[in-house]
C-alpha cells in the first residue's frame, strides 16, 4: 500500500486561499490541523514554563538550608508547577494530538464543530496568563498546593481568585474540546470505519472525552464553591460557618482521580499505535485493550478516597478504597501484557518513537507498582505527603504521559511536516531524557521512604545526598528538552522527504491514504474502509 493519496493532493495547495494570512490566520483558524499545531506549541511553552518553576524548586533543594528564595515563594512554585503542568502542558498536548489525528484516523474532513474548536483553544492562553500573571500580584501566586484545598485556599489574596478563574476557563475549554471530539468520533467516521475498526488512539480519546465531560464540571463546581465561600458568605468548606474542609477533598478527588486517567488514557492510545508499528505486528488483543480502557475509566470513579486515607476515614471506607484501588491494577496490567505480547516475536526496529514507547512501558510500570504500594492504607498513612508520592506520580505523569507525548511527536512529525526528523538528535534526546529522568526521580523513592516530606523548601541533613543527585538529574532533564525544540524546528524547516507511509508498519488511515505532509484539507470525500 504505497501512499494512495486519492484526493488529498488536489487540496494540497489551496491553503491560504480566502483565508487570512500571518497572525490572523492562526487567530481565526477553524482547521483541525492548525488548531492541533496551536495546542501543541502552547503545550510546549507551558512545559518549559512549568519546567522552569521545577528547576527553581530543585535549585533551592540542591543543598539543605535556605539559599535562594523565601519559603512562601517556594510554596508558590510547587503550586504553580503542578497546575501549569497538569492543565497547561499535559492535557492540551493530548487535545493537540486529538485535533491532528482523530479526523485523519477516522477519515473525517475536520472536527464536528470547527468554530467551537477555535474557541476552546483560544481560551487557553487567557487562562495561562491568569496563572502566570498571578506571580506578580500582591502576595504572589497561589501557594496552597495544586489541589487548592480548603481551608488554605479560602484564605490568601487575589491570586487565589485568579487561579480559580483560570481553572474555570480551562474547564470550559476542556469540556468544549471533549464534546467536539465525542461528536466527531460518533458522527463523522468514514463509511466502513465501525467503532471496532477505530485505531486505539481514537478509542482512548473517546473514553477520555467522556471522562472529561463527567468530571470537569464537578471541578468547576468545587472551585465555584471555593469562590462563593471566599466572597459571598457561603460556608461549603468554611468550618467557621459550619462547613467541612474535608468535603472539598472528597469533591476535588471525585474529579481528581478520573483526571489521572484523563492524562494517561490518551497516552495508552499513542503507545498502542506506536508499538504495533515498530513491531510490524497488529496490536495484540485489540478488543481487550478497548475493554480494559473502559474498565479503567469506570473504576476510576470508585477510588477517589485513596488520596485521603489520612483525613480520618472510617476503617470500612479505608478498606473499600484500598481494595477498589488495587483492582485497577488488573485492567492496567492487561494493557502492559498486551504491549509486551505485541512486541513478542515482532520484527522490531528502534527508532525514537519506539524507544520512547518502550521506556514508557517500563517506567510507567514502575510508577504503577509504587501506586500499588501507596494503595495499601497502612503504608500510605506512613508515606502520605512524602517524596515517595512525588516519585510515584512523576513516574506515571512524566515517564508515562510526557514520554508518550514525545513518542507521539516523533511518530507523527513526518506526517505533519513532510520531513523525517533528525534521528541522531532524536535518539540523543531520548537517552538524555531517560537517563536524567531516572537520576531525577528514582532517588525520590529513597527520600520518601526515609521520611522526607514534600512541599518543603528545606530539609534535614540526612536527605542531602539524594537531593543533590535529584537536582543534577533535574537540570539534565530540563536542558535535554531543548533538543526536542531543535529537532522539531529542524524538521519543520527541512530534512529527508517523508513518504506518505513514513513508517513501514503503520496501517491507520493517515499513513495509508494521505501523503506527507498531510494536505491542509483531507478526506473531504470520505475514504472507504473495508
Amino acid at each position: 500500500m504505497e501512499a494512495t493519496h486519492a484526493h488529498g493532493q488536489d487540496h494540497a495547495h489551496d491553503h491560504g486561499h480566502g483565508h487570512p494570512t500571518g497572525l490572523m490566520r492562526w487567530v481565526t483558524t477553524t482547521n483541525h490541523k492548525d488548531i492541533g499545531t496551536l495546542y501543541l506549541w502552547f503545550s510546549f511553552i507551558m512545559l518549559l514554563s512549568g519546567g522552569t518553576l521545577a528547576l527553581l524548586i530543585r535549585a533551592e533543594l540542591f543543598e539543605p538550608g535556605m539559599q535562594i528564595m523565601r519559603p512562601e515563594f517556594f510554596n508558590q512554585l510547587t503550586t504553580m508547577h503542578g497546575l501549569i503542568m497538569v492543565f497547561g502542558a499535559i492535557m492540551p498536548a493530548f487535545v493537540g494530538f486529538a485535533n491532528w489525528q482523530v479526523p485523519m484516523m477516522i477519515g473525517a474532513p475536520d472536527m464536528a464543530f470547527p468554530r467551537m474548536n477555535n474557541w476552546s483553544f483560544w481560551l487557553l492562553p487567557v487562562a495561562a496568563s491568569l496563572l502566570i500573571g498571578s506571580f506578580f500580584v500582591p502576595g504572589g501566586a497561589s501557594a496552597g498546593g495544586w489541589t487548592m484545598y480548603a481551608p488554605l485556599f479560602l484564605q490568601g489574596g487575589i491570586s487565589n481568585d485568579m487561579t480559580i478563574f483560570a481553572v474555570h476557563i480551562l474547564g470550559i475549554s476542556s469540556i468544549m474540546g471533549a464534546i467536539n471530539i465525542v461528536t466527531t468520533i460518533l458522527n463523522l467516521r468514514a463509511p466502513g470505519m465501525t467503532l471496532m475498526k477505530m485505531p486505539l488512539f481514537v478509542w482512548t480519546w473517546l473514553i477520555t472525552a467522556y471522562l472529561l465531560i463527567a468530571v470537569m464540571p464537578v471541578l468547576a463546581g468545587a472551585v465555584t464553591m471555593l469562590l462563593t465561600d471566599r466572597h459571598f458568605g457561603t460556608s461549603f468548606f468554611n468550618a467557621a460557618g459550619g462547613g467541612d474542609p474535608v468535603m472539598f477533598q472528597h469533591i476535588f478527588w471525585f474529579f481528581g482521580h478520573p483526571e489521572v486517567y484523563i492524562m494517561i488514557l490518551p497516552a495508552f492510545g499513542i503507545i498502542s499505535q506506536i508499538i504495533p508499528t515498530f513491531s510490524r505486528k497488529p496490536l495484540f488483543g485489540y478488543a481487550s485493550m478497548v475493554y480494559a480502557t473502559s474498565s479503567i475509566a469506570i473504576l476510576s470513579f470508585m477510588v477517589w478516597a485513596h488520596h485521603m486515607f489520612t483525613v480520618g476515614l472510617p476503617t470500612a471506607a479505608q478498606l473499600f478504597f484500598m481494595y477498589a484501588t488495587m483492582l485497577i491494577a488488573i485492567p492496567t496490567g492487561v494493557k502492559v501484557f498486551n504491549w509486551i505480547a505485541t512486541m513478542w516475536k515482532g520484527s522490531m526496529t528502534f527508532e525514537t518513537p519506539m524507544l520512547f514507547a518502550i521506556a514508557f512501558v517500563c517506567l510507567f510500570t514502575i510508577g504503577g507498582f509504587s501506586g500499588l504500594v501507596l494503595a495499601i492504607t497502612p503504608v500510605d498513612i506512613q508515606l502520605q505527603d512524602t517524596y515517595y508520592v512525588v516519585a510515584h506520580f512523576h513516574y506515571v505523569l512524566v515517564s508515562g504521559a510526557l514520554f508518550s507525548i514525545f513518542a507521539g511527536v516523533y511518530f507523527w512529525l513526518p506526517k505533519w511536516t513532510g520531513h523525517m526528523y533528525d534521528e541522531k538528535l532524536g535518539k540523543l534526546h531520548f537517552w538524555l531524557s531517560t537517563i536524567f529522568f531516572n537520576v531525577l526521580f528514582f532517588p525520590m523513592h529513597f527520600l520518601g521512604l526515609a521520611g522526607m516530606p514534600r512541599r518543603i523548601p528545606d530539609y534535614a541533613l540526612q536527605f542531602a545526598d539524594w537531593n543533590k543527585v535529584a537536582s543534577i538529574g533535574a537540570f539534565g532533564f530540563g536542558l535535554s528538552q531543548l533538543i526536542l525544540l531543535v529537532v522539531v524546528l529542524k524538521c519543520i524547516k527541512g530534512g529527508v522527504k517523508a513518504e506518505g507511509r513514513a513508517w513501514e508498519g503503520a496501517d491507520s488511515l493517515e499513513w495509508t491514504h494521505l501523503p506527507s505532509p498531510a494536505p491542509y484539507h483531507t478526506f473531504e470525500t470520505p475514504p472507504t474502509v473495508n
Partner: protein
C-alpha cells in the same frame, strides 16, 4: 451535510446537558455525603479525641458551697450543689451572683477545700476567683468554674467540698 449538522447538534445538546447535570452533581455531593454518613453510620468509628487520663473506675463526689464575707450585700450561690465525677474528667459548674445594692461593688472570691489536702489535687482551669469581679448596681451574673480532679488524689478521699467566700475589695475604689 445538513442532516449531519443536525445530528452533531443533537449530540452537542446531550453532552452539554450532561455537563450541566454534572455541575449540579458536584453540589449534590454535599447533602449526599451527609445523608450517607447519617444513614449508614459509617462515621461512627471515626477517631475521636478521648481523655486518656480519666479513671472511669473511680467516683468522687464534689460539693459546692458559697459564702459571703463581711456582710457583703450580695446573693452568691452555686447552681449545682453536688456532682459525681471521675478523676481526670473536666467539668464545669456555674455560680450565681447578684448585687443587691445601688452601688458598684468590687469583690474577690477565695476558695477553700475540705479536706484541705484535696486542694493540691483540685485543679481549676477557669475560675471567677482568678480575678476581681466588679458588679454594677443590681447586676446579676452567672460565673463558671472549670476544673479537673487529678488522678493521683489519695484513695481514701471520696468527697471534696469546694467552698468560695466573696469579700468586698477596697471600698475606696467604688463610690
Amino acid at each position: 451535510m445538513t442532516g449531519q449538522t443536525a445530528q452533531n447538534r443533537t449530540i452537542l445538546k446531550k453532552l452539554l446537558l450532561v455537563s450541566v447535570l454534572m455541575f449540579g452533581f458536584g453540589y449534590a455531593l454535599i447533602p449526599f455525603y451527609k445523608k450517607l454518613c447519617d444513614v449508614t453510620g459509617i462515621s461512627k468509628d471515626k477517631i475521636t479525641v478521648s481523655n486518656t487520663q480519666m479513671d472511669p473506675a473511680r467516683w468522687v463526689t464534689v460539693e459546692f458551697d458559697a459564702n459571703l464575707g463581711a456582710k457583703l450585700p450580695w446573693i452568691f450561690e452555686p447552681q449545682t450543689t453536688s456532682l459525681r465525677i471521675h478523676p481526670g474528667e473536666i467539668k464545669q459548674v456555674l455560680y450565681r451572683v447578684v448585687n443587691l445594692t445601688d452601688r458598684t461593688i468590687v469583690g474577690q472570691a477565695i476558695p477553700s477545700y475540705g479536706p484541705a489536702l484535696a486542694g493540691a489535687y483540685f485543679k481549676k482551669i477557669a475560675c471567677f476567683c482568678f480575678t476581681q469581679q466588679t458588679l454594677k448596681p443590681h447586676e446579676e451574673r452567672l460565673m463558671p468554674v472549670q476544673f479537673v480532679v487529678q488522678n493521683d488524689l489519695p484513695k481514701d478521699v471520696h468527697t471534696i467540698t469546694l467552698s468560695y467566700t466573696f469579700y468586698e475589695q477596697a471600698k475606696a475604689g467604688a463610690t
